[in-house]
């Protein structure tokens, strides 16, 4: 047992950790920054230190953390420990036993210094009470930092030179200051010191850091480095927007691009560059992809569309910026010329003519060609279209063309333009606009918050695409485990949910999944289909749970309510949704919880008497065997509303159904108050069990209320 000992005055100092490295991967930079700060905070806190103000920094060549006012040692701990019983501590002659001396040793005191303590039964024990002085922070730091660095989440660590150190990239220096003093430490192949380095070219000399609080300023003024990621990011945004305004345009500043560019520079300097206006004839997405993805440039537009300008972020305040500008313009020209060539070339062959070639492209070695996949998507999409009233001809056409752009040169060069190019090429071929849109839309939604397909045709093909992916990967035994999800099945499942729920599509998901599974060309698939389909249903519904619970504050849905509905395995997601929402209302009313408790009781009773209950399941309740008045009342109440409840369930007006069932509360209460289910006479007992089974069946027609918490 421990407790902090209050202390009058604690000396506090600022801590600075800066790890200097070769250029870190830009997309991992923020994650590394955050993990370093969080990891240190967690470990310091675990060591008993209070971390109040923590600030982190990240540039391509450094990760740093500044913690303000960290105590020089954790507070002392008041330690109370009970040792061995007294009778086991001394032998007959009164000499201490091994148990006693070992306990004294472990407390760090002599045996004579130990006290005595009684427990409630009057047994006497050896007892220790003392103050444990905390280890000095400066002593703790190297170990805590090393553990933090070892635990950083990084996809691949590397070694360099002849050493054994492993990190994301080679490490060159470590600044570790506690107050103005260097913490003696050595890790990742370097000794801790107070020397940092500024910008690689603009401030190459060693940069002495005098104190943690002066770190960011020293780097900024003497090191030509804006160390804080957000400050650098906003600086870049401001420069880009200013340059764009100077061109009478607006910069297209996506968060992803802005983050990536921020992670590539220490001293951002924005520059404009030009390209030939003839390239503006290319599709907008192609231009943006060329500028953004390949070159990390910001595109510029005005109300008329994209402008023949780009903005690049250099990492140097060059005395001759035209050299940098001209170089970048040189690079973008052949890139755009390539794109223009692909655009010309691809349109010479109609999209539809590429369909046959998909038969020769492997989608997945266990799941056949892209052509086979196209056909499977077509079957599913057509079935879906028929249910949701989408045009069958257009759906079939869109499905056949959906994957054809994968064979175009443009998509080969810019995979992220899949779908988008298919739409352009389909329009160029004179395909119906809705077909063209569906080709683009069938990949939607690609990410959280993304748009959904614009038409029923798009919905049908998008659902077909996702269900085929889920079915194929599950059927070939590759369902995701842990955080690994190489085929994007979680995304596919969320896509299915969002399209169906947000577009209110009445579809039998269980049937569709089963169909998708049986379409897979895998040996023995028919025999395995039922199990695989159930797995997929569960997988999709687990994503639904996460989606509902994310918004629990607004929708009032709890995980138990979700389980209650899931137990009934509704085939339609809209039906699922309706049951769930009705349940929220039901739980809120006074009868709700009481009936939930009754359901749990019934479920328990039925479970215990399972063999008997199972055998009498088909048997209806025999009126003559209902001896007690309370059980006859319950039976009457049940009969009186059964038809209405069933009608409401069929009409999916679950609130109405639950409303009716709420009326059973007095009868149910009366039954449990006055009737003993476990009557010694088997006939009576079984009849009562049958009554309860009927009652429960009526509830579980909506949701399994026994899963709600008491």
């Amino acid at each position: 047992m421990t407790a902090s000992v209050p202390r009058a005055r604690i000396e506090r100092r600022d801590l600075l950790v800066e790890l200097g490295t070769e250029e870190l991967p830009p997309k991992a930079l923020r994650v590394l920054e955050q993990a370093l700060a969080d990891g240190l905070r967690t470990r310091l806190t675990q060591a008993g230190l209070v971390v109040a103000a923590i600030e982190s920094f990240a540039t391509p060549r450094r990760l740093a953390v500044h913690i303000r006012r960290l105590a020089v040692r954790p507070p002392d701990q008041l330690i109370k420990r009970r040792g061995p019983p007294l009778r086991a501590s001394f032998d007959a002659a009164g000499a201490p036993t091994r148990a006693a001396t070992a306990f004294a040793d472990s407390c760090g005191v002599a045996l004579e210094a130990l006290g005595r303590e009684h427990d409630v039964k009057g047994n006497e024990y050896l007892y220790f009470e003392g103050i444990k002085t905390g280890t000095a922070t400066v002593t703790l730091l190297p170990g805590l930092l090393q553990q933090t660095l070892d635990a950083l989440p990084t996809p691949r660590r590397m070694r360099w030179g002849a050493g054994d150190a492993q990190f994301v990239r080679p490490v060159h220096w470590l600044v570790l200051l506690f107050g103005r003093e260097v913490v003696p430490a050595s890790m990742l192949g370097v000794e801790a010191g107070s020397v940092s380095f500024g910008h690689r070219f603009m401030a190459p000399k060693a940069l002495h850091i005098a104190s943690p609080a002066g770190y960011a300023k020293a780097l900024l003024t003497r090191g030509k480095v804006i160390a804080a990621f957000d400050a650098r990011r906003e600086n870049i945004r401001a420069q880009v927007e200013q340059l764009a305004a100077g061109l009478a345009g607006r910069a297209i500043v996506g968060d992803g691009l802005l983050d990536e560019v921020t992670a590539l520079v220490e001293w951002p300097v924005a520059l404009t560059g030009q390209f030939e206006p003839r390239f503006l004839a290319l599709p907008r997405e192609v231009l943006i992809a060329t500028l953004q993805e390949h070159q990390r440039y910001f595109a510029v537009e005005n109300d008329a569309g994209l402008m023949p300008w780009f903005i690049t972020i250099s990492n140097i305040d060059s005395p001759d910026p035209d050299v940098v500008r001209a170089g970048n313009e040189r690079v973008v020209r052949p890139r755009l010329a390539d794109a223009a060539f692909f655009w010309e070339q691809d349109r010479r062959q109609p999209l539809a003519e590429r369909r046959l070639a998909l038969d020769g492209v492997t989608f997945h070695d266990k799941l056949g060609s892209l052509g086979a996949r196209t056909d499977r998507i077509g079957v599913l999409a057509s079935a879906i279209a028929a249910h949701i009233g989408a045009d069958g001809g257009e759906t079939a056409r869109a499905a056949q063309l959906a994957k054809c752009d994968l064979l175009t040169a443009m998509v080969g060069e810019f995979p992220e333009l899949q779908g988008c190019m298919g739409r352009y090429y389909a329009l160029a071929d004179g395909e119906a606009p809705r077909v063209a849109d569906a080709i683009r839309d069938h990949y939607l939604p690609r990410a959280a918050g993304d748009a959904l397909p614009a038409s029923g045709v798009g919905d049908a093909v998008a659902l077909g695409d996702k269900l085929d992916t889920l079915a194929g990967i599950f059927a070939s035994g590759q369902k995701p485990s842990g955080t690994r999800d190489p085929f994007g099945l979680r995304r596919a499942a969320i896509g299915v949910l969002r399209i169906i729920l947000e577009h209110r599509l009445e579809l039998n998901l269980i049937e569709l999944i089963d169909r998708a599974v049986r379409l897979q060309q895998i040996a023995g698939i028919d025999a395995a289909a039922a199990g695989v389909s159930a797995d997929i249903y569960d997988f999709v519904l687990e994503r639904a749970r996460a989606q509902y619970l994310e918004r629990a504050a607004d929708n009032g849905i709890s995980t138990e309510m979700f389980d209650a509905v899931l137990a009934t395995r509704p085939a339609s997601l809209l039906d699922f949704d309706a049951r769930l929402r009705a349940l929220v209302g039901f739980v809120a009313r006074p009868e709700g919880l009481s009936l939930a408790a009754a359901n749990r009781r019934i479920a328990n009773i039925l479970r215990k008497s399972e063999p008997a209950a199972a055998s009498l399941q088909p048997q209806p309740v025999v009126r003559e065997l209902l001896r007690e008045e309370a059980e006859r009342e319950l039976h009457d109440a049940l009969l009186a509303m059964r038809a209405q409840v069933q009608e409401a369930v069929t009409a999916q007006t679950y609130a109405r159904a639950l409303d009716l069932l709420a009326g059973l509360k007095p009868a149910v209460d009366g039954f449990f108050d006055r009737v003993l289910v476990n009557d010694p006479e088997a006939a009576l007992r079984n009849n009562r069990l049958a009554l309860l089974a009927e009652l429960r069946a009526l509830f579980t027609g909506i949701a399994d209320l026994s899963r709600l918490p008491g």
Binding site: G161, F201, N315, V324, G327, V331, P334
Partner: protein, 325 residues
């Protein structure tokens, strides 16, 4: 901080090569000549692929003509060709100032990183046929990729201990930038008493004819048969514990695979299988090479008395071979 001063810009393609050779020679590299077989990149030279294996230190630099049959454009494209030059540097163990050494080489080529925007942008390298991977960057000069910079982590399936650092310069790109030309074939190779010789004068006809061979004339059945034969030969040579000749069979097989690819003679699934076959060979060669160096006592470690022992064991090996013959 000591840095090389900014040199004058090389005026010609061959000047560029001379300056790089001179620079890396000054920094302790063995200056080698190209490997005399068709390869896809400087990495395939034995001075990189095999020397990166095992504990022995090694520093080398060389030009490697590289063949990428699928990249041919019949000499029509200003910067895409099936045959080009790489300048390759390999240093093992990678020195702590490896990036600085590289930047100094740019300075020696007349690039002042105080004026130009030089950046190391993440680009990790993986060669499925060589069973090799490494982490590093592509180097950007004012937005243009001019070099690849890699710390080898694994080669031929073997962990790299110590780690080799590899730099690959794209010579044509650098030269196009230095000479401010948009078409590679317009590069000045050299100016001599007989006038200006361009890159096109040297390579355009070759580019056109080789593209035709790669795409239109290469005999697919013969190539398929050759692939099998080289695979077999490699395995035979491995059985005889001749790592270096076995490796040449890998190079042959790898180039034939690239030609078949250019002829579109390999389907997607077959493609993966071909790659696997080459990888299997290169892994076996890597292990055989390691074993052969180990048997020699890793002569380049030059530990006390190592040289004498190695000489003895080498003689022993030769004697055995002669006896066999």
């Amino acid at each position: 901080m000591k840095t090389t001063k900014i040199g004058p810009k090389p005026r010609s393609f061959q000047d560029l090569i001379f300056i790089l050779q001179h620079y890396w020679s000054e920094h302790g590299c063995v200056i080698l000549q190209p490997y005399d077989m068709e390869v896809g990149a400087g990495t395939f030279h034995t001075a990189t692929f095999l020397r990166a294996i095992g504990p022995e230190p090694w520093s080398a630099a060389y030009v490697q003509p590289s063949r990428r049959p699928t990249d041919g454009r019949y000499g029509q494209n200003p910067f895409r060709v099936q045959h080009y030059y790489q300048f390759q540097v390999l240093i093992k163990p990678s020195p702590p100032d490896f990036q600085e050494l590289y930047l100094d080489s740019l300075r020696s080529l007349g690039f002042d990183p105080r004026i130009n925007d030089v950046r190391f942008v993440e680009d990790n390298w993986e060669s499925p046929t060589l069973g090799a991977w490494g982490l590093g960057w592509e180097v950007w000069l004012n937005g243009m990729e001019i070099s690849q910079f890699t710390y080898f982590q694994q080669v031929g399936g073997l962990e790299c201990r110590p780690v080799s650092g590899e730099i690959t310069y794209g010579l044509e790109r650098l030269a196009m930038y230095l000479q401010d030309v948009d078409n590679m074939f317009d590069l000045v190779w050299t100016e001599g008493p007989q006038g200006r010789v361009s890159y096109g004068d040297v390579f355009l006809q070759n580019e056109i004819e080789q593209s035709k061979y790669n795409f239109d004339y290469a005999n697919v059945p013969v190539l398929l048969r050759n692939f099998d034969e080289h695979e077999q030969a490699c395995n035979d040579l491995l059985a005889a514990r001749l790592a270096l000749p076995a490796y040449e069979q890998v190079l042959k097989a790898s180039h034939i695979f690239n030609l078949l690819d250019a002829r579109r003679a390999i389907s997607v699934t077959e493609r993966a299988r071909f790659i696997l076959r080459v990888r299997t060979l290169s892994r076996a060669v890597a292990q055989a090479y390691y074993a052969s160096r180990e048997a020699l006592g890793f002569p380049m470690l030059r530990g006390a008395g190592a040289s004498a022992n190695v000489a003895a064991s080498m003689e022993g090996a030769l004697a055995v071979d002669q006896a066999r013959a």
